[in-house]
């Protein structure tokens, strides 16, 4: 097992820069998830760590050694691919032992390792089958088994659950977490699914347009996003962004959303935002769970307003409500018994204690 470090890593395809000088330190035993939309450079970064793509600039280190020019086979890594990449002409056991056989491990040791990995992944009964005779979930387990038997320094996962149905994806997510808890190998995991990222990672790396937007624990990213991109990408439904400005009214600072809706800044936030220039174009970032039905007794910092709902989506344990504020679409989360109906008026409460203010032009969270 080893730590992994990326120093100003760049990947260029002709004139296009897919990865634009990223720095990343991954500690030994850590589970890091690279997340971002399609084309953000996350898979390219993973493939550069694997050695499947050359680096245009910068350094990649595994266990303290620069591996820029080291071929994949000598990096002591294992990779799980999106479409499993199992060898169709080999049985499960042969697939899992392929790497060990190439390195001429003793037969007894190969058998012991394959048996142990199969037991760990609960695929002992499938050991003599060919990949075609396996379901998607079973194939994914075999692909993980192939990685585990080699006991590598680093595990690399390239969107391993994308080909599975929703139910199986949740199940396999838990399996992957369990396996990591047992083997504790340094893991780099790529996904575009922020739920996967949040549930699996020790730390999440959010990437956008070839750059790292933010690195942090799932909670940090959720509660303290650094940019509009991260704030909008992490969390489902996404955070609402409402154009607003600050104004001074009778010695207090107010946040004005529309001509008729303005709220005083909560005391906890007032000190932080007081110094902002009043002319600055701002965005109020508020997550749907902080836009709920109004109650009789409201906490300080929770403000109410009336609106007319466009659409409601009953989800069982909650109802998502959609409405507009001067053309900006907003999503809120209310109690299923709160009486939310399509086209009906409703009084909603906004918890400004959990608000974020963003610079509208730069997208930076203030």
């Amino acid at each position: 097992m080893a730590d992994v470090a990326l120093r100003k890593v760049v990947k260029r395809y002709d004139d296009v820069e897919a990865v634009r000088g990223i720095d990343l330190d991954i500690a030994d035993h850590e589970f890091i998830v690279l997340v971002g939309p399609s084309g953000c450079g996350k898979s390219t970064t993973l493939r550069m760590i694997a050695g499947l793509e050359d680096i245009s600039d910068g350094d990649i280190m595994i266990g303290g050694d620069v591996v820029n020019d080291v071929p994949p086979k000598d990096r002591d890594i294992a990779m799980v691919f999106q479409n499993y990449a199992l060898y169709p002409h080999m049985t499960v056991a042969e697939n899992m032992s392929f790497g060990l056989r190439l390195k001429h491990y003793p037969k007894a040791e190969i058998k012991a390792r394959v048996t142990e990995a199969a037991r760990l992944l609960d695929i002992t009964d499938l050991i003599d089958r060919k990949p075609k005779q396996l379901s998607g979930g079973q194939r994914q387990r075999v692909a993980m088994g192939r990685a585990i038997v080699r006991n590598p320094k680093v595990f690399l996962f390239d969107e391993p659950l994308s080909n599975l149905d929703a139910k199986l994806r949740v199940q396999m997510r838990i399996e992957i977490k369990k396996v990591h808890q047992k083997v504790r190998t340094t893991t780099v995991y790529v996904t575009h699914d922020q739920v996967e990222a949040m549930t699996l990672a020790d730390r999440v790396v959010v990437m956008n347009k070839g750059r790292i937007e933010q690195i942090g624990t799932p909670n940090e990213l959720y509660h303290k996003p650094a940019t509009r991109f991260v704030a909008g990408f992490i969390g489902s439904p996404a955070m609402n962004f409402i154009p607003c400005r600050l104004e001074d009214v009778g010695g207090t600072v107010q946040i004005r959303l529309t001509d008729r809706i303005a709220f005083p800044l909560p005391p906890a936030r007032a000190a932080r935002y007081n110094a902002l220039p009043r002319s600055e174009k701002l965005l109020l970032g508020i997550r749907p769970e902080h836009l709920t039905e109004s109650h009789a007794h409201l906490e300080p910092g929770v403000e109410t307003f009336d609106t007319v709902l466009d659409v409601t989506e009953p989800m069982g344990m909650e109802t998502l409500v959609y409405f507009g504020l001067e053309g900006t679409p907003i999503c809120g989360r209310v109690d299923p018994n709160a009486g939310a109906k399509d086209g009906a008026p409703m009084r909603l409460a906004m918890d400004l204690n959990n608000m974020h203010l963003l610079n509208d032009e730069t997208g930076v969270v203030l």
């Binding site: 050695g51 994949p72 086979k73 294992a78 990449a85 060898y87 002409h89 392929f98 190439l102």
Partner: protein, 313 residues
């Protein structure tokens, strides 16, 4: 009571033609019947061009030279006693097996090179490398005949600069066999190339990437990934080429006409010589029929293996 019986009889008579018409419509309307009629032109064509000649040659093989008397297996027993026949069997096997091995090998190697040429350039190379296969073999073999000319050929002229030759390309047994095999390989290798190229393109890149990470070098990737993934294509291409090469006629006929001293005769060319040139059509038919059991055995072995692996990928 009697009225009722008459009435029933009339009814029965009236109904039966309608039933017949309905059942005919049912038969004609069945999917299998429609399918049969749609394939009928092909069935007739195969019957006329394949089955009739095959059975007719079987019939011919049982007649005497004048085709006036039934001699049973007489022609076959006569052939078994002739040395030339066994030489032709040996030559056909050597020719077909050697040529197919080289075609497969060259096709495989060149397919790898072409596969690794990027984008548009690959299309150009693919087109150029297919040229030998698209030229009618009778025409290209004539060009080879000039190249092999003992006195004025380009080959011997070029070799003379290195102090080699002149080589009797078509006059010596070894060189004549070498030459007919060389031309057959030149003509047939592009077929293997195009088939292998298609097969190579169907192997997912991620298998090679997984193998790279598993520690495989280029040779291990070919041995453990490429070859097993291409096994079915290799088998079917080999079988097809074996049949065509075994039955080759034009190259040998134009280059050597079976010479020197029958040393390059194949089944087809010898059957032609015996049957047409020596006017012993039953014996010629008998020679050509010998290809069937030999190729059938090869086909059974190769196709059995293909079926076994058919559902793997």
């Amino acid at each position: 009571m009697a009225d009722v019986v008459v009435e029933q009889g009339r009814l029965a008579r009236a109904v039966s033609p309608r039933k017949k018409g309905a059942s005919l419509r049912n038969v004609l309307g069945r999917k299998s019947t429609v399918a049969f009629f749609l394939t009928l032109p092909l069935i007739l064509l195969i019957t006329m061009l394949v089955l009739y000649p095959a059975f007719y040659s079987l019939y011919l093989a049982t007649l005497n030279k004048a085709m006036t008397k039934f001699v049973g297996l007489g022609n076959f027993t006569f052939l078994f006693k002739r040395e030339t026949f066994w030489m032709v069997v040996k030559q056909s096997c050597i020719f077909a097996i050697t040529a197919v091995i080289f075609k497969a090998l060259i096709g495989f190697i060149v397919a790898h090179f072409v596969h690794n040429i990027p984008g548009k350039k690959q299309r150009k190379w693919r087109g150029m490398l297919l040229v030998p296969w698209v030229i009618p073999p009778a025409m290209s073999t004539l060009a080879w005949l000039w190249l092999f000319d003992p006195s004025y050929s380009a080959f011997n002229y070029t070799l003379s600069f290195f102090g080699v030759g002149p080589i009797p390309w078509l006059g010596d047994t070894f060189w004549a066999r070498f030459s007919v095999i060389l031309v057959n390989v030149w003509y047939g290798a592009p077929f293997f190339l195009i088939m292998y190229l298609a097969a190579l393109k169907s192997v997912p890149d991620q298998l090679y990437e997984a193998a790279s990470i598993d520690g495989a070098n280029w040779w291990q990737k070919i041995w453990h990934i490429t070859l097993p993934m291409m096994r079915n294509i290799i088998a079917i291409t080999t079988l097809f080429s074996l049949i065509v090469t075994f039955a080759n006629f034009d190259i040998v006929r134009i280059l050597t006409s079976g010479g020197p001293l029958d040393r390059t005769h194949l089944f087809a060319t010898w059957a032609f010589q015996v049957g047409i040139q020596s006017s012993d059509i039953p014996l010629g038919a008998c020679v050509s029929l010998f290809m069937v059991p030999i190729l059938a055995v090869a086909a059974i072995f190769i196709l059995r293996d293909v079926n076994k692996r058919g559902n793997e990928a």
